[in-house]
Symmetry: C2
Amino acid sequence: MTHSPWQPISPAKPARTPKEPLTRDRIVDAAMRLLVDQGYDAVSMRKVAQVLDTGPASLYAHVANKKELDQLLVDRAAEEMRLPEQPDPERWQEQLKDAMREMLRVMRANPGVARAAIGQVPLGERALLSTERILAILKAGNIPDQAAAWAVDLIPLYVTAVAFEETVQGAWAWTPEDVEGFVTGLRTYFESLPADRFPITIALAGSLTSGASGDERFEFGITVITAGLAALVQKT
Amino acid sequence: MTHSPWQPISPAKPARTPKEPLTRDRIVDAAMRLLVDQGYDAVSMRKVAQVLDTGPASLYAHVANKKELDQLLVDRAAEEMRLPEQPDPERWQEQLKDAMREMLRVMRANPGVARAAIGQVPLGERALLSTERILAILKAGNIPDQAAAWAVDLIPLYVTAVAFEETVQGAWAWTPEDVEGFVTGLRTYFESLPADRFPITIALAGSLTSGASGDERFEFGITVITAGLAALVQKT
DNA sequence: TACTTGACAGGAACAGTGTTCGTGAGTAGA
DNA sequence: TCTACTCACGAACACTGTTCCTGTCAAGTA
């Protein structure tokens, strides 16, 4: 092996293996994988870059910042929504509840996306299609225009808050024993409060601590909201 | 001034000025000041320590971690709640709405506390007193026990979500011109959507973008929730 | 063909976060 | 006096989002 005497001898650079070029889609794919596997807190630019075997700075050629990546995650999750095609005036309330259940299902399937969704005005195509569907359900139920318009604000806000709360509490990591232990302790605590100051809390200690697992509390919430919307029709 | 010849001569240490000892209360005070002046994102351990003219590590002798400091901030905010003394069966719905308005007022007065509040089970004394008051309002309205118990979950969750959303959107920093510009742009966007796929969104573009300033949307939300709860009474 | 320009990749560094580790000082009790 | 405990707090750790800078490659132009 012969080196030209005019050519400096430097350590050989490790060959850069040819890689698939970065794209926005690949970035969102990687972020989504982290989100689903490890939750929202795992979705850092460095972690995403790691999954893609690159450096975090490379991501900025494709997404403006972390906030934009968050928004792309929300849009990606929104693509999983499955809503009924045909609103039914006889069943609009159940259809509305189904829509809310579907929203929660999607958010649970993508832990942490609720955190990113809060505060966003949903303008992606898929999100707008969902909005249109929900508006159709509400109009099938004869909800007045202004109420329907504001309801598509209220509904995702409530569902998102429920999903976000679950995320914050790390609810999926709780075993049934954990839940039961927590509930029992809380009930005991409520029952031990001073009776002169907390008579109702004590009397309702059982009710206050029921429904901690399963979806009863969420079902209650959507029932209340749906009934409240229905009451707007009866007012006209 | 004479030094013993066996005693090493080292630079004089700057005298530590005597300081008021750190206490948990002083830490929360300082954090609260930052929260109110600059919002939740400004409440870092370093910033709090700076306000107190100490190092961040010193805080950990008094609060376990940032999460606990967050909880203390929520408890501190809860002390500002003013709820009616005497529930009135004739006006329980308006009293309930007033309670929700008061919650939102307190959270707005303490920007960012909603973020800390989400996911917390409110067990501080002041929070429990508020819960008791709201339960009293609901019982005055003849809400069934289980519904009342779950309503004290639903109600703070909704209000907290509204407050949190405002925080995320940085809503207080918006001028009326900002809002109008945003609303106009959004309305134009909705009206420009393909009519075959978004007929209702287009038809309701005005309604969808109304109420962006002021509290109309929040008032709508609490009206729906209150009406939904009232409907539970009529069912019995 | 040679040069220029623009886009992308990505390391190093910046400014910031929460937290731990280790050390020194002060106090109370034996 | 010695010991143990508590508090204060600097230095360092591990991590975050982002910018700055350099190198490479491809396309376009002279």
